[in-house]
Symmetry: C2
């Protein structure tokens, strides 16, 4: 008749404190409790938590996941919004990959050109100290 939070954690590979956190912020419904106030879950909880975990692996933020979950609960609804969220995520990922590619190029150049002697001639430090470059954006994504 239902299983513990530890068991749910094992079944979904989501850590126990994270499950409690998800409940606290309302992304996972509060389950029923034993007489001693311990949580007892069912298969529905496994499914919902697995959904969240997979979406988190794809780096959807919890806000987006909230929307996706509520869509899932309404199968007759249009899925345009889900599509939109996924597409927005793809755009972010594309941007991030491009930014990281540029970053990698700069790091490689820094490292290659460093003769690895004294700091005075270190290309890594020199590059960072160089103020002649453009002010890029410090985007988070």
């Amino acid at each position: 008749m239902g299983f513990s939070i530890g068991e749910l954690s094992r079944r979904t590979a989501v850590k126990v404190p994270t499950i409690r956190y998800y409940e606290r912020i309302g992304i996972l419904p509060a389950p029923r409790r034993t007489e001693g106030r311990q949580r007892r879950y069912d298969e529905d909880a496994v499914a919902r938590l697995a959904f969240i975990r997979h979406a988190r692996e794809l780096r959807f933020d919890l806000d987006a996941i909230c929307t996706l979950l509520s869509l899932q609960d309404n199968p007759d609804h249009s899925c345009a919004q889900a599509d939109e969220i996924a597409k927005a995520r793809l755009v972010e990922v594309d941007k991030r990959i491009a930014a990281l590619g540029a970053l990698r190029t700069e790091l490689r150049r820094m490292i290659e050109e460093c003769a690895c002697g004294r700091v005075a001639e270190c290309r890594v430090i020199e590059t960072l100290a160089d103020t002649s470059h453009e002010h890029g954006v410090l985007a988070r994504s």
Copy 2:
């Protein structure tokens, strides 16, 4: 005879609260003050803050930047440590790019296969709900 925090902000493209934050955590030295306790900076502060900003653009964490700054202050020291930090960063970036590439592939497949009708047939939701996949890692990098 020195300039204000607002001027330093304009010259380095680092926001005023961020500059104060950097001072608080000790990554930027406390500057001298006017009689009215307002901060007054010089060119050295510009250089140091520009260094930090550039390193942040390359996503070095503040801890690594701290080390790099102390290296910069000792030009006769070996730059092996700087090299090491930069190489570690490169490894992280490589990993992140690989992970994001995989993520992009999955997002694209999800989006392409979605007929964009009702949620019941939505490939996006379906993919997220699918529990048959491997438990990947939720690495931060």
